[in-house]
Symmetry: D2
């Protein structure tokens, strides 16, 4: 592939009215290394075609189902390289399996699948097919989330002792799923979302970030999940206690009934000598507090930052980048791997391992909550 031909992308899901579809397109194309050229935007072929038109996709490349997409794109000399999955959780596994086995690379919305068993099965498929598989833990794409990880790696904080990850939203504080909100409807329906509600929708983001930044894996979970809004089946408010592989302890809070909160993802990690604090709603700043020195504020786009943080940023300091750019960082690195014929660098793009861990976390949280006891996050590692 030429260095300047964009990687060809198909999108499954993300049709009209969805929030995430246009975001995928914008992020994928932002850096000019990828191009959305095909998709399945609805099970109704006509609707799919019309949606595709809004994306500027040729009529014949907007398909009504996955099989048609696979067949159509395999038949083309300029068929897509990569398939993005942006459907409700319960379909992730089947779609990913189909397209991987058909020889395409995949980038999937989180959670990787609807259940842990599916995730483990998907891992085998990824291995068997040898295709690339990435997962859009978008928040890990922010420059300063990466700086946070590098700060931990540098050892400057000392051994990590304590992690607090929070993800606080308020948009489900009322039963909007029964008032016509489509986003809310599938997320609160076990058939579409799986057994986890808030825990699977945003809890996994906080979980991923906690492991991503701390450099430790969660080994044990105690979970207190609730369905606060009357009539809701799935959890909408989650409070968890954590143990990490490296000895740290932690807390993970995820809520979608925190009325008035917007998208309050925050990660704090403390070591022996200081602690870091990063908030997604002010993503260009990383605050570091020290035991015996002034606090520091690291600004995205600055030349004093680590290479991974500089790489994940387009503009000089003081020019805000946001959510789209964070997701674009994942797409950009994915495109480069494809262009170079290289495997995905898990340091840059979370892969199926992160996917399995996310589902392990959801399953563990549900089990811990059900039994009222600590749950061991065992058996997630690949058996060899």
């Amino acid at each position: 592939m030429s260095a300047t031909t964009p990687v060809r992308l198909a999108l499954i899901g993300g049709g009209p009215g969805s929030f995430i579809g246009p975001v995928h397109r914008m992020a994928a194309e932002l850096d000019g290394r990828m191009k959305l050229v095909a998709g399945v935007f609805s099970r109704n072929a006509d609707k799919s075609r019309r949606a595709g038109e809004a994306y500027g996709i040729a009529r014949e490349r907007s398909y009504g189902d996955i099989d048609a997409l696979i067949a159509g794109e395999r038949a083309r000399a300029d068929g897509v390289d990569l398939i993005a999955i942006a459907t409700p959780n319960n379909s992730h596994f089947a779609i990913a399996r189909s397209v991987l086995e058909a020889g395409f690379d995949v980038i999937s919305d989180k959670p990787a699948t609807a259940t842990l068993d599916e995730a483990i099965a998907l891992r085998r498929i990824v291995q068997a097919t040898g295709r690339r598989y990435g997962i859009t833990y978008t928040y890990s794409g922010y420059a300063m989330a990466r700086e946070a990880r590098e700060l931990v790696r540098s050892g400057r904080l000392g051994a990590i002792r304590k992690v607090v990850a929070e993800y606080s939203q308020g948009w489900l504080a009322q039963p909007v799923e029964r008032e016509g909100n489509q986003q809310a409807a599938w997320r609160s329906d076990p058939l579409a979302a799986g057994a986890g509600g808030c825990i699977a929708d945003i809890g996994v983001h906080a979980f991923h970030l906690a492991e991503f930044v701390s450099g430790q894996l969660v080994s044990r979970i105690y979970a207190d999940l609730a369905s606060v809004v009357a009539g809701r089946v799935l959890d909408d408010d989650c409070q968890l206690l954590l143990r990490f592989s490296g000895g740290a302890r932690g807390v993970l809070l995820a809520s979608q009934i925190a009325a008035g909160d917007r998208n309050g993802l925050r990660i704090r990690v403390w070591g022996e000598r200081g602690g870091l604090d990063w908030r997604q709603e002010q993503p260009d700043q990383l605050i570091v507090n020290w035991s015996d020195a002034p606090s520091q504020v690291f600004h995205a786009g600055s030349s004093y930052l680590s290479e991974p943080a500089q790489r994940a940023r387009r503009l000089p300091a003081g020019h805000p980048e946001g959510f789209i750019e964070a997701l674009a960082n994942l797409y950009r690195d994915y495109a480069e791997a494809i262009r170079c014929g290289a495997p995905l660098d898990q340091d840059r793009i979370p892969g199926i391992e992160a996917g399995v861990r996310g589902l392990g976390f959801v399953a563990g949280a549900l089990a811990a909550n059900r039994t009222g006891s600590w749950h061991q996050l065992n058996g997630l590692e690949l058996e060899t």
Copy 2:
């Protein structure tokens, strides 16, 4: 008592080198309604006298022990009205008992006593003697903590669903108790501090504020306490899950090993329609987020605030007040009750009930942590 004669105060503890002694004097005298005139600042009568001199106390009113204080002050026509207890936790009970039974009113540092049994016993003594008893939950003295409570009471947030209370310090991130830090030494010594470390030292503040602001009582606790610094016997990092009497759920985090953190007390309370957020390190602001309207920032000293918030403030908006003024609010209201011959208004000055609840919380947290199960906060109410 004349409306302009200051209430006469004795201080027990708070001798040279202590942080809290001078704070008590400054706060008590700030509004001109109280005067520190006697005290026991050391068990060594000479040292006590020298410390008293630094406070401007007459030589003969700096005593070497409680009995001498009681005898001396009872013998004077101008003997003290109120006795403040600022000693390590393990002595609170005995001192409070002695001085209450000797007919003095008491204002005590938290926790009220070293154990729950002591606290319950002290409650009986308070009742039996009919003396006033207040406890310095200083943070509840801040104007905007009171505004927060009034906001909840107003019902504007709707029914309260969720509470997150955090108290995060870093000064015990290293074993400073073995390096000559006196404050750290007694706090990490079970003989002086009681069975709780961080949970009793600062956890109780977060607990009190959670109940104070939310207007609900904690009914059940799950606790995960740890001694993170090697060699430390008492807990220094606490993560707890909570259930409240009114149905809310919550989390309480207290840590003294959060390296780099200063005095990070923060309370967040969410109702059906919005949530409030108050941080002690920026005490003049109360942030309220709404589901469907711009966020609001309430500023201390403003004329639009509730009466309790206005009462707890001396200066117009934009003129910061701090920790000393917050404690002074408790002392001022205490002085007024004495002057008027009225009982303490528990809405303004936490009393022995709050003291019992605090020890109940510590005992419950220790029990829950030991047993690995939820602990019911039962039996704290006064039997009648």
Copy 3:
């Protein structure tokens, strides 16, 4: 033009190593309504071609000069619709003239031209040719800058009395133009930048925003400009006093030697009843302080915002958008005007009038500074 065919864009300037070139491409293409298909990226045709390749542009559409671009694109059925000018200031006029007269629409970096005379001449050309002309006052594209303007328009602040606009950068605190920094080199060279340094580079942004948000025009200027860094010819630090057409008074500060500052653009506007405060480095928030009510914080992406603010935003509240999205808002509205065959809505895309005013401001500031007296911003309006 079909509703889904992207508008075709050429870019002049913004070649390899430039900051602004890739930003134009990303912003123009972000919403899928425009596509960069041609350009002049260097005076050297080979270099231009190589740069074009990096943008994914067909070899034959990367030209070595404007005339070639015009000739080439006019000859194509699929020739460009719009030409973006991202060259140093001194070339803006000549390029704009050529391409307007050749029948293309223009979107130009600020300042519109290098001198006021040029700007006035350009206005005549825009009128004569009947082509669209827009100018990238990017900061006015932010959702919350637009909300600020709407708030003023709503009258809720009362009559506007006071405006403070600041733009504070530190990147020229050292003579980096003599140390190989290309961005700094042309900006501090009068031959490339024109007679104004900081005042023309960033002062015009603050000026535009002051008029944009306050809804008043600057009528008089007093200016105190300096070249702080030894050896620098053009101004690098500017402090100005302002009078507005509606009676407001104001201050405009612009500096490129404010060491440590990043991109500190901030606008504050006070009326009789309250004041607003918007900072580009935290663009998703608009703070409004009221005389007799709690402050408010408006969050971008919220449903309670004005239509112009909602229109200028892709993501729900809590998902940060940044500088690229702000510029994309201008490009998106430009694309729509082209698609609809409508003139540019000056409310959404600053046009040549804003360009003339910007150069009038620069000329006025230089004159006021030279004479040490207030300068009237007269004669900028179109004579009819």
Copy 4:
């Protein structure tokens, strides 16, 4: 004087209903080194006595005029040492003269006098009498304002180039002086306040802080003053351009019609390598931005701070101190000077030189505003 006998203080002004009277008492007595024992709180002896009672002052030491105070206190063995002046500006000079000549030390509210001539005359009196004279530039008493000065002195910012001082209030945005607001009434009455309104009331604070922190003296002023509220005689909104003795340039903004602002005093100072930023409404933080390193946040009460900052603080980091404590820092150092028989350290307590400079600034601003030209701040230095 014994090391523990409090310095005896009399207060002139600050009677019932005043804001500043109780603040003086609280601040003076906060650290136990001073005691308010006498005063003139009204020209009506009866009213003065009743006010004195509220302060806990003996009936015979609440006087109806200055002469009576002087006579009464000189006649006592325990007469006052120090007299605080908290009356409207126009009386400062006469009172200060009387009490200095009567042999008392003085601490005066700003501005030192109502006119520059008076201030210069007062300087001669201070010299002639050899008494101590201090002025309550309260904001310079904050720990972090002092840290800011020390940072400049340390040279770490490099040569100072730029100063922006702002003081923004909104309480005079409406003509409250005609609606019964006493504070507003005398401040907007030239007979009571002098020729300067906002410039003399709060402009002098910003001016003092600018010189205090930057370590440079203002040498030239350009002023743009206005009476924004209809019917107001004195200025209520001030924008000034400054030149400093050390070559720095600057801006000073002071407003009392910035509706919604509370007490927005802020000072920013930039040197060659970085800039500092301190805001009175968040006084415990000092932010420092660096050209090539992360920003720093210095926290009051930290052990890494300079000696002057540590000295000006009672509590450990994270325990807010406020306005009263800032003023108390001045009183404490004043008390210590009296106790030691030492002159005032101008580094800690602004003296008559700062007073003369303040009036020179007001006179210069008024002259510059009247003439529309730059005014030299000459002749303020003591002729020798």
